[in-house]
Structure formats: C-alpha cells, structure tokens
C-alpha cells in the first residue's frame, strides 16, 4: 500500500507541473507546424498568468463559482490577441521569427509588471480568492489503486490537458484544416499554388499558440502560485518549447515530453521521501530534467525533422 501512496504522490506532483507545459507545448506545435518559430511561448504564458490573475481578482464577485473558468477563457482570448504582435511582425513584416519571439517575452513581462505596479501599487498582485482546487472524481476514485493513482487529488485542468492533446492531434492530422496548416509549414509555395492562404493559416497557427500558451500560464497561476509577480513564470515557456522539439513537433509527442519534464521537476521535490534518492545531493535532482533533455536530444532524436520551412517568412511570388 505504501508504494501506491508513493507513486500517487510522484504522479500527482508530476501532473501539476506537467499540465501548464502540455497546454503551452500544444500551442507551440500549432505555431511551429505552420512554419513560425515561437520562442515567445514564455511571454505568452506570462500574459496568460497575468490576465488570469487580474480577471480572477476583478470579477470573482460577478462570476461567483464560474470565476476560474471565466478567468481561463479571458486569459486565452487576451493572449491570442497578444500573439498578434508576433504574427504581424514575423508574418506580415517578415521579421526574424526568433527575434520577434524574444521581443514578445520582454514585452509580456514588461506589460505584466508595469500594470501590476499601476493597479496594485506593489511588485506583485494580491492572492486570488477563487483558485482552481484539486478534487476527486466521483465513483472512479473508488476503483482500487487506479482510483488512488489517477482520480484522487488532481486538478480538473490536468484531464483537460490530456484531452486537449488528443483533440490537437485529431485536428492536425485528421482534418482538412490540419493538412493545410502542416502544408504551409512544409512548403508554403506549393500550398499557395493549391489555393491555400498561407498568411491566413500562419496567423491562425500563431494565434492558437497564443491562446494555448495563455491557457498554460493561466492554469499555472490558478493552480500553483495564486498571484502574479516577476517570479510566476520563470522558464516554463522555454521548457514547453523544448517539449515541442523533444516531441518532434507532434501533439502526442509533446504531451509525452511535457509529462516527462513534469515528472523530472517533481523528482527534486518529492525525492526527500524516496529512500533510494534521499542521499543524492539536491543539485543533481534540480539539473536532471535539463541534462536528460540534452542527452535525449543528442542520443535518440538528434536529427529531429522540423517542419521544412520553419523560420522562413513567406514572400508571395518569390522563388
């Protein structure tokens, strides 16, 4: 019984960290599949976290019990609009996509902290009153072992993340829209010749990455930090980007990679409970996820195939 408890603790902690990464990585898949590099995932998460916290604080009297859901939706919409900066710069103005993504990161943090100072007159916001709480799934949590492992004490957003990954997989691989999205990322000229609007598809890809990145940041803020400050999102966006590449630009691959990163991050937290890992200095646990990523990239998928025209602006009529 003890081992079940231990596994359920590790699993629980992994899932909490993995959930925001899954959403954001799925956003990254949309953007990169359409041919636009998105280093700005970090900034999109920051924007999502900020908007979710602010709307939660501002509207929890209005929305009551629906506040968490409403703040997630508002965060998604605002972040999708915020991603337009990246879209306009890198698609219409043919800016270097990496540079524009870096600017998104600076801009999101700048706007978030500026408005926090402006509205709350201090370095961080107040703590929200309607966070997302972990819960038990009725009935299913009564199943022995499986109930303890998968249906007790999780946040509902975690189930949503897994479902979202399958939906994204279906959209990208099984629908005409997904085919078009992938084709503009592989060979925009061929797609254009076939009557696909390359610019429109890329705008949609980037805005979807904004919505999902914002959702990831919002979920992190509402489940883990419960307020917004400069330390809310520190690198989760970059880890999500790594998950996109680690997962070979495939939604389910990204899902697996994000869960793996969540697991690696949780290890440093729960390792004190595990006899085997107790005597390992904590620094090894802290750097493990990053070292493992590098080893994995170098070993298994050194030659991951990125979408063919990733990073190239499409200029109509150019050969």
């Amino acid at each position: 019984m003890e081992i079940v408890e231990l596994i359920s603790r590790i699993l629980g902690a992994s899932v909490v960290f993995a959930t925001p990464l899954i959403f954001t990585a799925l956003g990254g898949v949309f953007s990169e599949r359409s041919g636009v590099i998105n280093i700005g995932l970090e900034g999109l998460m920051i924007m999502g976290a900020f908007v979710a916290i602010v709307s939660n604080l501002a509207f929890h009297h209005v929305f009551g019990a629906a506040t968490p859901v409403m703040s997630l939706i508002i965060a998604m919409v605002v972040s999708a609009l915020f991603a337009l900066f990246h879209a306009v710069a890198s698609i219409t103005f043919r800016a270097d996509q990496v540079v524009s993504g870096v600017a998104i990161n600076f801009l999101a943090l700048g706007i978030g902290l500026f408005l926090t100072k402006q509205w709350y007159d201090k370095g961080q916001t107040d703590f929200i009153e309607s966070p997302i709480y972990s819960s038990h799934v009725p009935l299913l949590n009564k199943i022995p072992i499986i109930g303890d492992l998968f249906f007790s004490g999780w946040y509902w957003t975690s189930y949503l993340a897994v479902v979202a990954a399958f939906i994204v997989w279906f959209v990208i691989y099984k629908t005409p829209f997904g085919l078009r999205l992938r084709s503009v990322g592989e060979h925009p000229m061929a797609a254009d010749t076939n009557g696909i609007n390359v610019y429109k598809m890329r705008y949609i890809g980037v805005m979807l990455s904004g919505a999902l990145g914002g959702l990831g940041g919002a979920v992190y803020a509402l489940t883990v930090t419960h307020n917004f400050s400069h330390g809310t999102i520190v690198g989760q966006g970059f880890i999500s980007l790594a998950a996109v590449i680690f997962g070979k630009w495939h939604p389910l691959g990204a899902l697996g990679a994000a869960i793996f990163f969540g697991f690696a991050q949780s290890l440093s937290i729960v390792s004190s409970d595990i006899v085997l890992l107790k005597n390992v200095p904590s620094v090894f646990m802290l750097i493990a996820p990053y070292v493992l990523t590098i080893l994995a990239l170098a070993g298994f998928i050194g030659k991951a195939e990125a979408p063919k025209s990733l990073g190239e602006a499409y200029v109509k009529g150019n050969r």
Partner: protein
C-alpha cells in the same frame, strides 16, 4: 539620397525613436507627463557623477554579453545560452579570486582568463552537439542556462562556502574595483572593467573583419553548403563560433564577479545580462561598434529607469516595454525600409 548603407543606419535610430515615442504614449494613457518621465530617466542616468558611474557600470557587462550574442549570430547561431555562460564566468572568476594568493599582475589576469575559459566551455557543449549531431543550439543553450544556474548555486553553497548564501569578497589582487574611479563618482560601483569591454569589442571587430577565421565564420553564417563546397570545415567553425561567443559571455560574468559585486551569491533566478545581450546585439546589428552604442543605450535606459518612480511616479517597468518595442521595430525593419523607400520615391 538614401543609399543602402544610410538605410541600415537609419533603421536602428528610427526604431529607438519609435520605441521612445510609444513609451511617451503609454505614459500619456496612464496619466503621467512624458516630459517629466523622460527628464527623470535622463537625470537618473546622467544627473550627477554617481549616476554616470552607475550607468558605465551597467553598460560594461552589456557590451560583453552583446558581443557574445552578436559573434554567434554572425556565424548563423543563436546563442540564448549567454545567460548560463555569464554564470559560469562569474563563478570561475570569483573562485580564482578568493582561493589563490598571487601578486596582482598574475592574479587578476588569471581570474579574468578563468572566466573566459569557463564561459567558452559552456559554449563548447552546445557547439559540438550542433556541429557533430545536429542538435538545435537554441534548445541546448536554454537547458545549459538552467544547469548553470543550479550548478553555480550548489557550488557556492557547498564548495566555496560552508552553506552560506554568498562567497567572501575576492582578494584585492584580483579585483577590478578602483577606489579613485569610485570616489570620483560619489562611490558608485564603476570599475576598470569597461576598458576590458571596449578592448574586447575591438578584438571582435578584428577577428570578424580582419582575419581568415573571421571570414570563414561569416561565410558559414551566410551559407553552410557554399562554405563546405569552398573547402571550409563547417563543424569546426560552428564550434569555434560558440567557444568565442561563450568566452565573451564569461568575461561579462567576470565584470560582475571581479568588478561590480566582488563576490558570487546564490541566485533565485537569472541575472538577465545574457537575455538583454540579445537585445543589445540585435539593435547593434551584430557589429562591434553597434553593440557598444546599443549597450550604452540600454544601460542608460535601465539605470535611468530606477529614478523614474521617485521623480516622476512612473513604474520602472515602462523601460522594459520600451526595450521590447525597440526590438520589435528593429526586427520589423522590412516595414521601416518600405516606408523609407516610399518617401524616397515621392521625393523624386
């Protein structure tokens, strides 16, 4: 009247002006007076000699981290790992600075060299992975940043001290600090590092523009296949670019370790010297002179911004927004170029 060269110089200038203009608009929207705001920023950077000293202090690591990013970009590599390389350089310089007992002529150069080597090593790893296995340098350098952060924290806590949060100060023989510079500027933290930074900018210009190595590095940046066809060793050049880039970044760390602070402490997050270096390099168009000018501008903005809350009530973070917008405009130079050419046509 508008040659290509002039347009290339105009773009960063127009971007900066647009960035400042949007900053003013944001101030107006939130009910601040832009004139007071920018006056506060100016006073915060140049108001008296203390502020000038602090500005120079801030510009020093920016020049070096900007050079690091710029050097890699000239070879077609995006080194997002400057941040981690700064950490390693900082750590190495302090390590040498506190643990050896040497005369200054040996101690200071050794500490600076150690920083360059540590940074170079941290750049070598993504370099060789890119060159030999084709692993994307952006991802590896991002990962290396985190490894550097946690590793250096652990070394400070467990190896350099006995569980303390910061090391002791580096020996006077390894310090870049200067009492007369500091006294001249009302005890600001200005140090001799800016001489090193300017010298390294010259080195970068020399390597890139005046040596065969620099020519090869640039060629690889333009077109790897053509370089290979011309008989250049592409993977050697990729590794070399990352190593040199890393050593610039390591030196930026030494500026903090031996100059500004004189010690290394536990860090809860990144210093942002490396990330700001990306902005510096982009605005400086990846040239040595451009990097110096851009580092100066960002140093002025960052230090000047600290004065904005007290003198004008404007939150410091406004400057982050301005910097982000400047990068956007530089990146979107296609748009600015198009507008300039429009004017050119109408002027005829």
């Amino acid at each position: 009247m508008f040659s290509n060269r002039i347009v290339n110089i105009l773009i960063p200038i127009i971007s900066v002006l647009l960035g400042l203009l949007f900053g003013a608009i944001i101030m107006l929207i939130f009910g601040y007076n832009p004139v007071t705001g920018f006056a506060a920023l100016w006073n915060g950077a140049f108001g008296d000699s203390y502020f000038i000293g602090e500005t120079v202090r801030q510009v020093t690591p920016y020049i070096l981290s900007g050079l690091a990013v710029a050097f890699a970009l000239r070879s077609g590599l995006l080194n997002i790992g400057v941040e981690g390389q700064v950490f390693m350089g900082w750590l190495a310089s302090v390590w040498i600075g506190i643990s050896l007992d040497l005369p200054m002529v040996l101690h200071l150069p050794l500490a600076i060299l150690a920083a360059a080597v540590a940074g170079a090593f941290w750049g070598f790893i993504p370099g060789i992975l890119k060159a030999k296995l084709g692993v994307h340098e952006v991802i590896v350098t991002i990962m290396m940043n985190y490894i550097a952060l946690y590793l250096s924290n652990s070394i400070v806590r467990n190896l350099l001290t006995d569980g303390a949060d910061r090391t002791e100060n580096v020996a006077a023989t390894a310090s870049l600090q200067s009492s007369w510079l500091s006294e001249m500027t009302f005890y600001s933290r200005i140090h001799y590092g800016f001489i090193i930074a300017l010298f390294m900018a010259f080195i970068m210009w020399f390597i890139i523009n005046r040596t065969t190595t620099g020519f090869e590095l640039r060629a690889v940046g333009f077109n790897q296949n053509a370089s290979k066809y011309a008989g250049m060793n592409v993977s050697k050049n990729i590794i070399l670019a990352m190593v040199i880039s890393g050593s610039f970044a390591g030196l930026a760390g030494a500026m903090e370790g031996l100059g500004t602070f004189g010690f290394m402490s536990i860090k809860s997050g990144f210093t942002n010297i490396g990330f700001d270096g990306i902005a510096v390099a982009l605005l400086g168009a990846n040239t040595a002179v451009g990097v110096i000018l851009a580092a100066f501008l960002f140093g002025v903005l960052k230090i000047g911004a600290l004065n904005m809350p007290t003198e004008a009530g404007v939150p410091t973070e406004l400057v982050e927004i301005i910097i982000a917008l400047i990068i956007f405009f530089v990146a979107s130079s296609y748009m600015i170029r198009w507008i300039i050419l429009r004017f050119k046509k109408e002027g005829k």
